[in-house]
Amino acid sequence: MSWYKRVKEGITTLTSEKKAVPDGLWHKCSRCKKTFLSEDHQKNCYVCSNCNYHDKVGSHEYFEILFGEDFTELFENIYPSDPLGFKDTKEYSKRLKESQEKSGMTDAMRVAVGNLNADMKLVVACMDFGFIGGSMGSVVGEKIARAIDYARENRIPLLIISKSGGARMMEAAFSLMQMAKTSSKLALLGKAGIPYISLLTDPTTGGVTASFAMLGDVNIAEPEALIGFAGPRVIRETIGKDLPKGFQSSEFVLEHGFLDFIVVRTDLKAKLSSLLHILMKVPANQLSN
């Protein structure tokens, strides 16, 4: 395989979002076009060391970044169904099957518990945009609900990583009610005094923004992510004007008071660790990172 071809394949894989990690030896940044060794790019948490572009990655990468190999996946046995026998241009059951085959995942959410540090356990519920746009249906809601219960019962802090286009229309009102389901479970977690950190990544919109993603004790986001309730297209059509530059970006949402801070992915683990040590009142261990 020629060097050129490898680079090119790396790009193709990325833009089609089939796989977050290109198989090729080289990774080319989809924004600044600079080329890096894939291995280095992975070590840099899939962030471009030239322009700070954060590649869109999924649960596989986030678990690796936060836990390395040291984690246990939870609630893997929950699969989507087609409660309404929904059919638009395609049957939902068929769509599910195709998405499962294409992504190798069961639905748009995975949950894991592991050691962030030797002295700090963490439950992570992470959305996968590669599965029907990271949309929230019954499985996403149920896995979040169980992750919250698990965190509460075991008194382990919770991180939810959001990356979603919003509701899963093919589950209609079932999808809508996941907003109430997850939010009410979070209210119980709050009463139990267990910290919940919400990490919003590109993109986080719709019913996800209007429920668990905005309900963190601490809301944080990756740089330059799209974060909003209504999608930019809907707003543009409603107001009949182009949107101001940077509208609905992480930086915009921070400026308007709905985020606590923006975190570069390479700092995520360390920042989470110090924050949680303080909130959980665990004395900081210098060797813990």
């Binding site: 046995n77 929950i78 699969y79 989507p80 169904s81 409660p83 309404l84 929904f86 059919k87 638009d88 241009t89 249906g137 019954s138 499985v139 809601g141 149920e142 609900a145 509701a167 229309m169 093919m170 589950e171 209609a172 009102a173 079932f174 809508l176 009610m177 996941q178 907003m179 109430a180 389901k181 939010s183 009410s184 479970k185 979070l186 209210a187 119980l188 709050g190 719709g206 019913g207 923004t209 209007a210 429920s211 668990f212 993603a213 905005m214 309900l215 909003g228 309730f229 209504a230 809907v234 707003i235 409603t238 107001i239 949107l243 101001p244 509208f247 609905q248 308007h256 008071g257 709905f258």
Partner: protein, 317 residues
């Protein structure tokens, strides 16, 4: 009063009846037997049409411009209403109204989205689409109701939360999310009634309750049939198909255990006999409040959270 296409068979018969009545009143020919025959036919036609409404037809009735809105229910079903304004942060949202009132002598809080009837009012009410300050006003009032141990009644009627620059700047997502969170553990009984349109998060933002009821000719879903059609079919043409697929009617929602009950409407919809509609709502509230008032609040909250936790269909292997 405006009519829908599917009401044409009924309208045709009513026109015939008007003609006959005119002839009869002139006194030359006795039409009384024909008149009662036709009246019977009209009743049969009404039962036929209104008894077999499909999803899209119910969506149309839910949007009928003469349908009672939140303030109409407040005026006709409650006494001593005092409207309270503002979220104490930004402004007063006219698309969300709220205040305290009495119902059969019991103090209650009523909040709900408010639509307008003419162009000017519609704009004033932002078409019943609240901004974040609307949800925050509703929450402020609910927290006050909790402080004074007063039950909450939410009237839901919205085509959705307002999409716009200011709504995003002021955190529409956070405002709705906060309401879901706080309502799920609010220490007073909450009754929610879908009185018209229940569109997505904008409806759910005041929709977490011990009893969630839908009136017979309303809809409640994650998206409107029109928007669903435009996204999934990439055209606005398939709204009827979308309305069917979304299973958004009160009967479907009850069958899927996503609401707690259906409130019947007069034949043809709430606007056809508003006096009867108000009486039905009063009877419903009386019954539901009596039931909820009996239960200890800890039990209510536990059951409330449990109910929403059970919503969703999945396979566990």
């Amino acid at each position: 009063m405006s009519h829908f296409d599917f009401e044409k068979p009924i309208q045709d018969l009513i026109e015939q009846l008007d003609e006959l009545t005119k002839v009869h009143e002139k006194g030359k020919v006795d039409m009384s037997s024909k008149i009662s025959e036709l009246e019977q036919k009209i009743l049969v036609a009404k039962k036929e049409v209104y008894g077999n409404l499909n999803g899209w037809q119910k969506v149309q009735i839910s949007r009928h411009p003469e349908r009672p809105y939140t303030l109409d229910y407040i005026e006709n079903c409650f006494e001593n209403f005092i409207e309270l304004h503002g979220d104490r942060t930004v402004k007063d949202d006219k698309a969300m109204v709220g205040g305290f009132a009495t119902f059969n002598g019991q103090s209650v809080l009523v909040v709900g989205q408010q639509k307008g009837r003419n162009t000017k009012q519609r704009q004033f009410r932002n078409f019943g689409m609240p901004n974040p300050e609307g949800y925050r006003k509703a929450l402020r009032l609910m927290k006050m109701a909790e402080r004074f141990n007063i039950p909450v009644i939410c009237m839901i009627d919205t085509p959705g939360a307002s999409p716009g620059l200011e709504a995003e700047e002021r955190g529409q997502g956070e405002a709705i999310a906060r309401n879901l969170y706080e309502m799920s553990v609010l220490k007073v009984p909450i009754i929610c009634i879908i009185i018209g349109e229940g569109a997505s998060g904008g409806a759910l933002g005041i929709g977490v309750g011990d009893r969630v009821l839908m009136m017979e000719n309303t809809w409640y879903s994650v998206i409107s049939p029109e928007s669903c059609s435009s996204i999934l079919w990439r055209s606005w043409e398939h709204k009827e198909k979308a309305a069917e697929a979304l299973k958004l009617t009160a009967t479907d929602m009850l069958a899927n255990k996503l609401i707690d009950g259906v409130i019947p409407e007069p034949l043809g919809g709430a606007h056809n006999d508003t006096a009867l509609t108000y009486q039905t709502i009063k009877d419903t509230l009386e019954k539901e409040l009596a039931l909820l008032n009996q239960k200890p609040i800890e039990q209510l909250i536990e059951e409330r959270i449990h109910k929403f936790s059970e919503m969703g269909e999945f396979i566990e292997k």
